[in-house]
């Protein structure tokens, strides 16, 4: 069955408009439309994608051309899957929004834009869809808590997308007048360097990587809960897509550094990626708001993707791609879990929450599996991608990047555990005893699917590794990941007699299962323990009656935070001062040029004439 991708984009737009029209009549129905819409789109793309039924010819949107590429399909499936899962939450959150119908429409429009970006082969119309996503998602943010986040978001993503535009136009100029996507590869000399710098700039802004990350925590904290899930799971992958084009598709940039045989350009990207990881982890550890913490975690995971891509080895790039899948699933699940809690408890501040597990155990399990994958612990998908990225980093022998990646993964244990302990576990606060109840079935369904997927990608990586290999073939990169049986082969060492380092996730899962079974046996065999109330705890001496005093969730990592407390606002202050400089420049010009006295104009006229004649006469 053949269907052009253009039909899908138009269908999504049509769904959006339908959602708007129905949304005006009845809020809930409108948001249910978004569920139907995104599910059909995801189903369609995934099914046709795998059976090769997608074609690129355009009947209606004649000004642009589409081309079904493997990596386009890869991203499209992930993003539409994330949209589909998150759309399940829309009906439950629609009541909080000022413009519910508009919300559903823009939700579908940003999906349409994203799909457009991944499949368009004409660079200018890649930018067209890129900008389309920016402004449609822009109006989703203010529906949440703060209004300032929207202008920060637009400022950074406009800067990013205009950098992308400048790069595209440089390519257009270099390949004398062609916008085809293959033009990226065929750029050489200084234009290649300029294009590389600007495109990675665009990727950095969209991914929220180090130098340009200020908007990510602001937006993901203040946007409505489903929107932040969509942002961190889906829209961030646009940045990864551009990063793939910029870093991998263009090949090495600049001279090769002999000791670690890496291109200079890629080295810079890797270092910035490492800084993103470290900065993201440090900031995440000290956050009190769960959503802000997850925002910084998706920032640091973005750093992993960048480090992976910039290794330019099969392990590295595959690790990056795999990490995109694992991170998309894990962070969407985590955000949805926090959203479920926020819907019922009203706040995501860890200070005010505690002991949600007793009323929402399933959400807790979903969140547990999500953070295990985000921290990169074995049975889950995150481990495999981090393992591959470590392999690549060590194979290149890059010590400082290695330190950053290790610090990032160990640090992720800390910051993922913090919401677990403060939000879910610990004393059950009285005010939540009555109000909090388990999320309804339709909210649990996507979360459970995401967790199962997390486990699946962790245990049986076969399908995704084949897809990644197909991408490498499609992008004419001579990379390949060897799979023998269920194990992934790491890089082969120089020393003979020593086989390649193997990772058999299925085996690890079984062994872990066996271990847990044995522990369970031990537990069951022994005497049954008496269940006692949570309040009845071993407190030396004085007895405490109120739950709040027995719940430790305020500044959880105090000793660690004290170490770097002074430096956390460097980047934010830098951008604030930049904005102020523009404002001061504007105010000065206003004061200087726009007084009520006409002599300013005459003065400048005389000045310009003197300036011209001076050169001419003398």
């Amino acid at each position: 069955m053949e269907l052009s991708i253009e039909i899908f984009i138009l269908a999504t737009l049509a769904f959006g408009l339908m959602a708007y029209v129905i949304g005006r009549l009845h809020k809930q129905l409108g948001s249910i439309m978004t569920i139907l819409g995104s599910l059909t789109i995801f189903g369609g793309i995934a099914y046709l994608g795998f059976t090769g039924g997608l074609t690129g010819e355009t009947a209606y949107l004649t000004f642009t051309q589409f081309e079904i590429s493997e990596f386009g399909l890869f991203f499209a499936i992930i993003v539409s899957f994330v949209f589909a899962m998150v759309s399940f939450f829309n009906p439950f959150f629609i009541k909080q929004y000022k413009y519910p119908a508009l919300y559903s429409m823009l939700f579908m429009f940003s999906l349409a834009g994203a799909i457009g970006v991944f499949f368009s082969s004409n660079l200018l119309y890649l930018f067209f869809f890129f900008e389309f996503v920016v402004w449609t998602s822009l109006f989703l943010i203010p529906m949440g808590r703060s209004k300032k986040a929207a202008s920060w978001y637009y400022g950074f993503s406009a800067a990013g997308s205009f950098m992308l535009l400048f790069a595209i136009l440089m390519i257009y100029n270099a390949n004398n007048g062609s916008f085809h996507i293959s033009g990226i590869g065929s750029v050489t000399g200084t234009t290649q360097i300029i294009v590389f710098i600007f495109m990675s700039g665009a990727a950095f802004t969209k991914l929220g990587a180090f130098p340009l990350h200020i908007w990510l925590p602001k937006v993901l904290t203040n946007a409505p809960d489903p929107v932040s899930a969509v942002f961190s799971g889906g829209l961030e992958k646009l940045g990864a897509f551009v990063a793939l084009l910029a870093i991998v598709n263009m090949g090495g940039i600049g001279f090769i550094i002999p000791s670690i045989d890496m291109y200079f350009g890629q080295m810079i990207i890797a270092t910035l990626g490492a800084l993103t990881i470290v900065f993201g982890t440090l900031m995440a550890i000290r956050q009190d708001d769960a959503k802000k913490l997850l925002a910084y975690s998706s920032m640091s995971n973005g750093g992993y993707i960048l480090v992976g891509f910039s290794m330019l080895t099969s392990q590295g790039v595959a690790g990056g791609l795999y990490h995109i899948v694992a991170h998309a699933i894990a962070s969407t699940a985590a955000f949805l879990a926090i959203a479920a809690v926020a819907r019922v408890a009203g706040t995501t501040k860890m200070k005010e929450l505690g002991g949600i597990i007793h009323k929402m155990p399933v959400t807790y399990m979903v969140y547990l599996i999500a953070i295990i994958s985000m921290a990169g612990i074995p049975p889950m998908g995150g481990f495999i991608s981090k393992w591959m990225i470590f392999q690549a980093v060590i194979d290149k022998g890059m010590i400082f990047i290695a330190i950053a990646t290790v610090f990032g993964s160990i640090g992720s244990f800390l910051y993922v555990f913090r919401p677990l302990a403060a939000l879910f576990l610990g004393q059950e606060l009285p005010q939540f005893k009555k109000t909090v109840k388990e999320a309804p079935f339709f909210m649990l369904l996507p979360m459970i699917i995401l967790s199962l997927l997390s486990v699946y990608t962790g245990v049986l990586p076969g399908v995704i590794i084949d897809f990644i290999n197909k991408i490498f073939v499609d992008m004419q990169l001579n990379y390949n990941i060897v799979m023998n049986g269920f194990a992934i082969e790491g890089y082969t060492s120089g020393i003979e007699g020593v086989g390649p380092s193997l990772l058999n996730p299925l085996l690890i899962a079984c062994v872990f299962g066996v271990g847990v079974f044995v522990a369970f046996l031990i537990f069951i065999v022994l005497k049954k323990s008496k269940k006692i109330d949570l309040m009845d705890t071993y407190t030396a001496g004085n007895f405490v009656y109120t739950e709040e005093h027995l719940h430790y969730s305020v500044d959880f990592y105090a000793p660690l935070e004290r170490l770097y407390e002074k430096y956390i606002h460097i980047m934010k202050n830098f951008y604030k001062s930049l904005a102020n400089k523009v404002r001061e420049f504007g105010a000065f010009m206003k004061y200087f040029f726009f007084t009520n006295k006409p002599e300013i104009t005459v003065f400048w006229i005389v000045a310009l004439m003197v300036f011209l004649l001076w050169g001419d006469v003398l």
């Binding site: 807790y364 302990a421 790491g490 062994v511 271990g515 000793p559």
Partner: protein, 304 residues
């Protein structure tokens, strides 16, 4: 399929051997420490007695997460131990004993224990967990840098591969080949084992023995088993990485005893760090030496 079952059985055997070995070693070292303090110290099998006494007691539980956490912790550690090679030939799963599996599966154990500790409702447990995780962050990073140097040099990340590399003479023992790395590894190992200078998170004197405060009866017993097997994993990891593994079990036992005894002696005479001192300490000198060692080994290629 049978062959996999055989391997799993063999793995379980390795795990129990680990548990028995470490508990015995624990007892013996208790006696050595006592001799240091001019007293006789308890019998060498004292630790066995403690564990089995605890397992037989009837205990209290703070809800399903409290128990599920303990099971997951012990299960994770047993799973990790199953992968551990005893000697370069005796290993449960040929070729799959990847170094990263150990680091991350220990994390599963840690996470399980932390989860149940926080689930117990006692704030002291949560503080203990917080301290454990912070210390882990501190000692793990320098250790990983050194191990990465080793992996870069030997080219493989499987433990048997590294052990074989040291035995077959390509490299002599990394204890000698990478002196600075070895020192850093010792310090991290003491952090891992929770020995004296870095044991703020489980020290009884600090906050009622940290995370374990709410446990009793079988849960505490299971956690003790988990603790013993963790020490076994970490010490044998150290042995394989730095002391060239072992051809025969006896060699392995001797090396194991030497490492564990020396560590115990050193830790008995030292004081105890405050938590943020641990982090600053590990990120100051050990990390510096680890980086210097890595630079020398990888980029300049000076390996003794």
């Amino acid at each position: 399929m049978i062959e996999i079952l055989m391997n799993i059985g063999f793995g379980l055997g390795v795990a129990t051997f680990g548990f028995v070995l470490q508990t015995a070693m624990g007892g013996i070292n208790r006696k050595i420490a006592a001799r240091l303090q001019k007293r006789r110290g308890p019998k060498w099998y004292q630790e066995f007695i403690d564990i089995f006494k605890l397992l037989s007691k009837r205990a209290t539980s703070h809800g399903w997460i409290f128990d599920f956490g303990v099971i997951m912790a012990l299960g994770g550690i047993i799973g990790t131990a199953m992968f551990m090679p005893i000697t370069s030939s005796i290993v449960a799963f040929e070729g799959y004993d990847n170094f990263f599996i150990f680091v991350y599966l220990i994390a599963v154990g840690m996470l399980g224990m932390a989860m149940s500790a926080s689930g117990s409702g006692n704030p002291l447990a949560s503080i203990g967990v917080m301290r454990a995780l912070t210390t882990m962050l501190a000692y793990e990073v320098p250790f990983m840098v050194v191990v990465m140097t080793i992996i870069k040099l030997t080219g493989t990340s499987s433990l048997t591969g590294i052990a074989v590399a040291q035995q077959t003479g390509d490299f002599n023992w990394f204890m000698i080949a990478l002196p600075l790395g070895f020192i850093v590894a010792v310090m991290s190992l003491m952090g891992m084992l929770g020995k004296k200078p870095f044991e703020t998170y489980i020290a009884p004197a600090e906050i009622a023995s940290g995370p374990m405060v709410e446990y009793g009866g079988k849960q505490l017993g299971m956690l003790f088993i988990m603790h013993e097997i963790t020490i076994f994993i970490e010490v044998s990891l150290f042995v394989h990485l730095f002391l060239g593994g072992a051809e025969t079990i006896i060699m392995f036992l001797i090396k194991y005893f030497i490492v564990y005894a020396v560590l115990n002696l050193v830790s008995n005479v030292l004081g105890r760090f405050k938590i943020d001192q641990v982090v600053t300490f590990f990120f100051k000198w050990p990390l510096f030496f680890a980086v210097v060692q890595a630079m020398i080994a990888i980029h300049l290629g000076w390996v003794i």
